[in-house]
Amino acid sequence: MAQKYRLPEGGRVDRSQPLRFTFDGKSYEGFAGDTLASAMMANGLRLVGRSFKYHRPRGIITSGVDEPNALVDLYSGTSKHEADARTTMAELVDGMDAKSINNYPLLKYDVGAVNSIFSKFFVSGFYYKTFMWPKAAWLKLYEPFIRKAAGLGTAPTVPDTDHYEKHYGYCDVLIIGAGPAGLAAARQAARSNARVWVVDDQPELGGHLLTRSATIDGKDSDAWIAEVRAELEAAPNVTLKTRAQAISYFDMNYVAIWEKVTNHMANPPANMPRERLYRVRAGQVIIASGSHERPLVFADNDRPGVMLAGAAETYVKRYGVKPGKRAVAMVNNDYAYGSILALLDAGIEVPLVCDLRQEPDGALTQAVKDRGVPIRAGHAIVAIKGKNSVRGVKVAALSEDGKALAEGEKPASQACDLVVHSAGWTPAVHAHCMARGKLAWSDDMSCFLPSEGSDANPNVSAGNCAGQMDLASVLTSGHEAAGQVLEALGMPANNAPAAPTADPEAASSTRILWIVPGEKELGYGSAKHFIDFQNDSTAFDVQLAVREGMHSIEHVKRYTTTGMATDQGKLANLNAIGIVSEALDVAPEKVGTTTYRLPYTPTTFGVIAGRDIDELLDPARTTAMHPWHEDNGAVYEDVGQWKRPWYFPKKGESMHKAVLRECAAVREDVGILDASTLGKIVVKGPDAGAFLDLVYTNKFSSLKPGKCRYGLMLNEDGMILDDGVTSRISDDEFYMTTTTGNAAPVLDHLEEYLQTEWPHMQVYLTSVTEQWATATIAGPKARDLLAEICSDVDLSAEAFEFMSWREGTVADCPARIFRISFTGDVSYEINVPSDYGLHLWNTLMQVGRKYGITPYGTETMHVLRAEKGFIIVGQETDGSVMPFDLDMNWIVSKKKGDFIGRRSLYRSDMSKPDRKQLVGIKTVDPSVVLEEGAQLVRELKAQPPMDMVGHVTSSYMSPACGRSIALGIVKGGLAAKGETLYSPQPDGKVIEVVTCSPVFFDPEGSRQNG
């Protein structure tokens, strides 16, 4: 029969709108207004998942954001796939497809449950203790085992095609939570001139009033909520967001709010995002986030059919569903009797209530008693019968101190299919704590309450989360919180309403028993007292952790994994603190809490990413010549955000072959490289030369216009920051180039010194990287080629020397030609305004055909420069390399005055003989190419560990040298050139190498100067 646990009437579901859904492939029916959890419950589905460690069968425990067990995968295998969705938070949608998780092959017969049988071995610190030794077993045995056993839902297999939005919001007052406290605050704030935001995670306003209705201002709470809602919706200064969860609270009242926009729609309009992330900066925040009901820690309190009393009440009252037919309750407070009354009203049989209190008191307790339900004072549920579903309980009287069964007590059995329990309510202080607020322990309420706030985050907590538990004081505290923040803002309410009123509740007692004893002592027998229902940590685990020396709650958390599950300890943490405090015999205040981490609840990656995906997250920068590269089959290398051609393979050509061909073309004919990505900075002003003298190790103020100079730039610690060629354009203008990846950091570095250390200098810095396109032609025929398309510059070696530049016309474009070389061959870097870049490239390719022009990419560039021993910053250097380490003393001026990093070069550490220094490396077998990053040792031993004295930084097969070549940094390498070193390989083989000069090709430089 469909929905056999649905009540004939009542609840807030719409019985006229039936919705279909599937769970593990079987089809069921629910109603609009259901959550997936309530719809599953209406169909009698109790076993909804299995736990993380023991794979114990699990059911629904809560009705909200704190649910640890009832998680499912939604829409598996589709673009809407959502892993580990909480059924209690998922609004039922027609066609919803849910799948149970963490079980294989079938929910009812789970093979992982064998862990349950071996649970003796799964105690605290199990992972640390068991999987330590032997090492070899880790890879083969333990790791695959954990991988298979662990994990919850499955990862999506297809891309998410929905879109997600981000939105900034600004307001004077942000109200988190629209329960009675939040609504009382909102009503008053709405009547001020303040801009007000009100957010709540539920589709309906009202919070706990949706579960337990009441009389407010003399009317039914439903009517009161409707009235407030109408007023908020009509107020132009109020933004009201439902289905919107405040997930994170950052400094200076910056709050992230996750709104589910169309998740609840079966056919959402295509233009609407699935979810949205609001980032709201608020002047003042009112935190009205309520509280979570606390579980009692008793034997087998995890069996399907055991749930929190308040949750059971919610299923009955809000969703019109019966969580069972016959319920036994165990409580320690009067409020929970309200839940029992709800069960009775729904026709659920309640044969008995165990009350941990010796003398149960309170109005609701009395009301249950008046209905003829037997209340057993000082009694507890000491055992649960049934595995996949509760079949009954055993009840016994407790000893005076509540730590054991009463002397000679024989537990009595009671059949039931539902157990509801409550240890009271824990204020949800998460937002207060994320906002750097402090907590204080309340002995009266046995929980932590907000105390001091942070002056960086002006906020006020109101209602349950501030420790106000009865409705009358909840309403008053919300109202007063609004008054307080409006006053702080200087925006009092016009025509302020009176505080809403409700009947005050008479005080009643509670009794805290952190652990409810079972039939056997903790740790004996098969019963388990769970604290964390998802991570399967038990009261015994926590006690054991304390005995083994974990006295800090942070250590206990990590050792036992308590509170580390996806519910982040919403149910577990306070019980863990209570048990630790008892085990250590210190006050809970001394135990303290673990850090309340953001986000408050698991959040989808989709909403965190928003539109910042693919090219909008990481845009690709392309040069003016990019269309040609595209048309001619370039393979790219990403350098920063730039797409740089890596090599240009001919059809069917391997990378190795392509690079050999490109290298040969440069050495024999002419090659062409797109060098547009180099960083370019104009340094201009009367003090430009003096400024460059301060930022480079060598002198630039003496450079003549028309000349170029290689420069090395250091950080203040003496380590190499960047290198590049800078040319003098005129007396007051220089044109600086930086490495491709360093353009922005170098500009920042220069700006910082210019603004903060030398503000008196008249210098302007302008990035012109995007303004110029650069084609570099290199090789013996480069000059002849250039001469064909440039007639207004004398290109002869005498008139246009190496390391100088000329202004002229190339391919009919205005151009700056720099005669510099990163290849060791004659080379011209032709710069034209970017818009002419493609034209220049096309012309060079066309005219160059008869010279055998060959485009080459960054790989060939690297080989050619390595043949010459030219370093690449970031490859030969790593932030710990200074000029002397590279044998570059020649570039460090001794004569000129100060420069950035100068003093550091003369610290005693810098002259230590065992610094790592740049050397060339030749393998004894010339055909062997070392791997970049390979470690080098001087003394070879039979097996590791060996003293590593350096590593390979660059390594290639060099066609010009006819052998492999490499660069590396080696301890004391400069003085020991010619020594034999070894590179032990992972497979046990050893490559023998000899160090040498890093310049492998044309050491005299006759080719580049010619």
């Binding site: 400094d251 200076m252 942070s454 985050n457 610690d717 700006e751 910082e752 603004q755 250390e757 003093r903």
Partner: protein, 99 residues
Amino acid sequence: MLLIDCPHCGPRNESEFHYGDQAHIARPENSESMSDQEWAEYVYLRENPKGLFRERWVHSAGCGRWFNAVRDTVSSRIVATYKQGEEAPISAEEEGGLL
């Protein structure tokens, strides 16, 4: 996400800025005559007080200018921001002590 009041542009989100550590430390002009120890202290060591701290920020994604701020390192509240070359609106005694 701090809200930082750039003295040139006004209040902007922290994501537009970069941090520059302790303010008002001039680069020594006499580094030649400084001992290794003194130089290392200039390069590597900065105060890390609990309380008010004068520090540098740069509005990288805005005007690009460096300026100074006084921030309470306990709460991260920014007490004041001021332009380069201006005096911090706190005394030396207040630095490192909560107001």
